[in-house]
Subunit: 559 residues, 2 copies
């Protein structure tokens, strides 16, 4: 395919996305350039909405379902409000790949009819609009995953009967739960980037500061939810792809351990690689909304429908135990214990991120908790393990999919384009090295029982998600703060903390961290960018970490 | 290394194993040849034991611990009885690789001292001798895994400081639980064989019929426990290696799903292959003993010590639910539902195995349960997936380890010696094909809800473990009846059913099964061989399937 061809095909698809926005919701006037107006959240986007639409769309998923499952708010009203706001969001930051508002409103009507008839909801997500990263297949809707070569195909296969006819397992479950599906969100082609860029929608910017990236690869989710064009959505994470956009957009997001949320029937990059599995997790505006979505999916018993899902229902007992620990801490009769990883020994963090960690540390201390410094096995090792895994096939999968259209690889994609595929013995050695690293890290975690004074090892670990609060385009140089979690297969919940502030986050040397921090930090450009941390738990400790995130988020989050 | 060298080194090691048997326990007279005396269990081995030793060694692990954890039986007395009987067993069927009775008696003494001081046991396995397949590292003891080239090394590495100094995670946990370790049992080098043969101990025969194989690869475990030289032990299973020897020796054995029992720090073949994981499971003389061992290990929270173990404690709630279903069935108020797989469409089963299935079917019907015929997705497909996985590295791992000494591959090893290693894209394709097969099988299992009348899909599936009851040496042609379970990662518990009987198990055509059954069946030679079935559950349903096996085993087992 010639250059003209892939460019024009990408542009045509881009136009068709825009065309799917009803005339009434199209912006009449041009949006001011980012240099003049960085932040398009809040008052800027609100000007296009009614007070009622603002009320609905600025409620969190938990609140919305408390209204829709009791019949106080109709599914149609809620759906229309979010469709409107998502349409605006896309026009502000290019965050959508697919728009299917008509189908959404139709299913909302059916939900309302069901409620009218039975006086009870279809399920716990009755009437809740849920956005989906463009890896999930939805009937009648295309999946491009950012590849021009996938336009008009099924995952790049022409004339495949599955095109437009199949649904991913998670989509089936969301429908059972009463969720309303209405749009799919932008991703970087390959999914292997901390920025969201492709030859269809171009570049998704950060709604809080359009000079910056929304993060990636679930970048469209992050941007859309930050603009409240969605109350909650599902992303995927193999190296940080849920957590980076959650953090960069001031949202909550969870990267659960592999085996809890069904990936069955979703598109993916380099499928069949099973050294580090990509996992699905929700992003939302509150921690309690993450819990709602996570828990609701588990009621569908996905372990009977996806062979990679573990038979592990939502464990209320762990929630209760964790709440009990919190209550005891609040009563002053004991404490929780946390570790903070101030840096990973490789990637210098920017002043806003360092300040975010300090805010969290001070909050933990104010709440009476024990705080220790995290001093784990070498992060250089784990960074190398992740990199080797991502480059395992020498870029063959990526070359194939870019090759379908002839489009070039965007420079932000972190996978090597012309690497060498690993041999089977190298893959086995990598799998062993990964397991041995996991074992050392596990033993280190166990060893903290000597330091906490609680009789338990640390309850959670606080870490940056990236060296920067959001990122200047093309300046995302290392995913080391996120990808180690994937190697370890730990649970991680992102908690928003504050906003970068050029008046405070100056280029002061952070002597306590060793090297002087000034690496490509630009206090002016980063001003206003969301700062977040991740709260890590051990493998499969989603119930504990979500419960802790709910508690800590309410104490440390930006008000 | 010259032929003379590996032969003589293997022989020297074999002699050193014999030398570890105390003089007083050595047989004075030669054992009659197998053609004259097939069965060396029961009266034959009992003649060398005291009545008290027989009482102790013919108790199951459950009964033994009920005595030892209450101080009624001393750990030393129990340990000495099993050491004596294990020594005899080895002299009858060559089932041991390592003997460390002195260390065992020393730890039994410590256990007795602990009990005397605290009037309570160290743990639920206090004083229970537990045998180990020769993959587990025990301090002061060698691990050869059947390779001559591993003698005097750590897993083939010379001058490795771990030699004789490290212990596998499971060994550490067993010691915490109060178990007494005293011997390691024979395996086929490579572990990839349904017979147990190597150039150290030669060939481990079947104690019930020494013309036949004891099975493999946990063959030494099967033979030793059949002779009651051990009440229970741990084997491993990647294609049937726990279940085949359990079935061939009239024992119970469980192949749990991956992620429940810790493999950390055990030797293995082709480590780092992660398409089908080898798993550890116990073998024992009763189902309740399997439950005891399995449950005890989980009390050690192995998920904090092995990165591949899932945080999934023993689930009493599932046991209670299952018992409730059984009680309701016994009261006639509802039924359980089982499927029977009479054959896999590829490997014709022998008359004793077909009769075993009929006995189980009749028992299930007598108990009032629903029985349907299992008609799953093609087993030819799953057989191919397993074979591709086992041959994935083209035999490189095996060649390396045989090459350390120059010994040849025994013909019974099922891995191709000079195959072609898969490329990374072929491995990825295999992983996808495996997952897709698992999904089809899962959907089929779900679909049986339409046939059971219980409102649930089948509660378990009954299948042969092999085409034959034990096997004539060199005549194990397909592990298709066992390896499909590993591809699916299902739970499987072996239940002994009966013994082959040449008077009954004639060459009658089993017309209902399709092809005429007479494939290499020799009614005379197979006479007396144990017949067993496996009870399959879905992935991670160990609690349910162990509970059902306890129930069904007591109804169908040989009396």
């Amino acid at each position: 395919m010639t250059t003209e061809n892939w460019l024009s095909r990408g542009e045509a698809k881009c136009q068709s996305i825009y065309n799917a926005i009803p005339e009434k919701w199209r912006l009449k006037d041009p949006v001011p350039p980012a240099a003049e107006l960085r932040d398009v959240t809040g008052p800027y986007i609100q000007q296009f909405l009614s007070a009622r639409e603002i009320e609905i769309t600025e409620s969190d998923a938990f609140e919305i379902t408390s209204q829709t499952t009791t019949g106080r708010w109709s599914a149609v009203e809620v759906t229309e409000a979010f469709c409107h706001r998502a349409a605006l969001a896309h026009q502000l930051v290019s965050c959508l790949h697919e728009i299917f508002f008509d189908a959404a409103i139709e299913s909302a009507r059916e939900l309302d009819a069901y409620f009218a008839k039975h006086q009870s909801p279809v399920g716990p997500l009755h009437g809740l609009p849920v956005s989906l990263k463009d890896q999930f297949h939805v009937k009648g809707v295309e999946t491009t995953m950012g590849y021009v070569g996938w336009i008009g195909t099924f995952e790049g296969h022409r004339d495949d009967p599955r095109r437009g006819t199949v649904e991913s397992e998670l989509v089936r479950e969301l429908r059972n739960l009463g969720a309303v599906l209405y749009c799919k969100t932008s991703v970087p082609a390959t999914l292997m980037s901390g920025e969201t860029v492709n030859h269809i929608i171009g570049y998704t910017t950060n709604p809080k500061n359009r000079l910056l990236s929304c993060g990636g690869s679930s970048g469209g989710e992050g941007a859309l939810i930050a603009l409240r064009g969605s109350p909650a959505g599902f992303g995927t994470d193999i190296g940080g792809s849920v957590r980076i956009p959650a953090g960069f957009n001031g949202l909550y997001g969870i990267r659960p351990s592999a085996g809890r949320i069904p990936y069955q029937g979703a598109a993916n990059s380099f499928d069949g690689q099973n050294t580090i599995l990509s996992v699905i997790g929700p992003l939302a505006t509150t921690a309690r909304s993450l819990t709602l979505l996570f828990k609701s999916v588990l009621t569908q018993e996905p372990w009977y429908h996806d062979p990679l899902v573990l038979e592990m229902p939502w464990r209320d007992a762990i929630v209760d135990e964790t709440r009990d620990l919190i209550k005891k801490a609040q009563a002053g009769s004991s404490t929780l214990a946390f570790a903070i990883m101030h840096w990973n020994g490789m990637d210098r963090i920017h002043p806003p991120v360092a300040r975010g960690l300090r805010i969290v540390e001070q909050t933990l201390k104010r709440l009476g908790h024990k705080v220790i410094t995290w001093d784990p096995p070498s992060h250089a090792t784990v960074h190398e393990l992740a990199g080797k895994t991502f480059d395992m096939d020498g870029g063959a999968d990526m070359r194939h999919h870019f090759g379908l259209s002839g489009e070039p690889k965007p420079p932000q994609v972190i996978v090597e384009e012309n690497g060498t595929a690993l041999t089977i013995s190298a893959i086995a050695a990598l799998n062993i090295a990964k397991r041995e690293y996991q074992k050392r890290y596990m033993d280190y975690w166990n060893s903290t029982v000597e330091l906490t004074g609680t009789g338990r090892p640390v309850d959670g670990v606080i870490s940056p998600i990236a060296p920067h609060a959001a990122v200047i385009p093309h300046e995302y140089h290392s995913v080391g703060y996120s990808s180690f979690v994937n190697v370890l297969d730990y649970t991680s919940v992102v908690i928003p903390v504050t906003l970068a502030d050029q008046a405070v986050d100056t280029r002061q040397p952070e002597t306590s961290l060793g090297p002087h921090i000034e690496w490509d930090y630009d206090a002016d450009t980063y001003d206003g960018a969301p700062v977040a941390v991740q709260l890590l738990g051990r493998r499969l400790q989603e119930e504990k970490i979500l419960t802790l995130a709910e508690y800590l988020g309410s104490e440390i989050g930006p008000s």
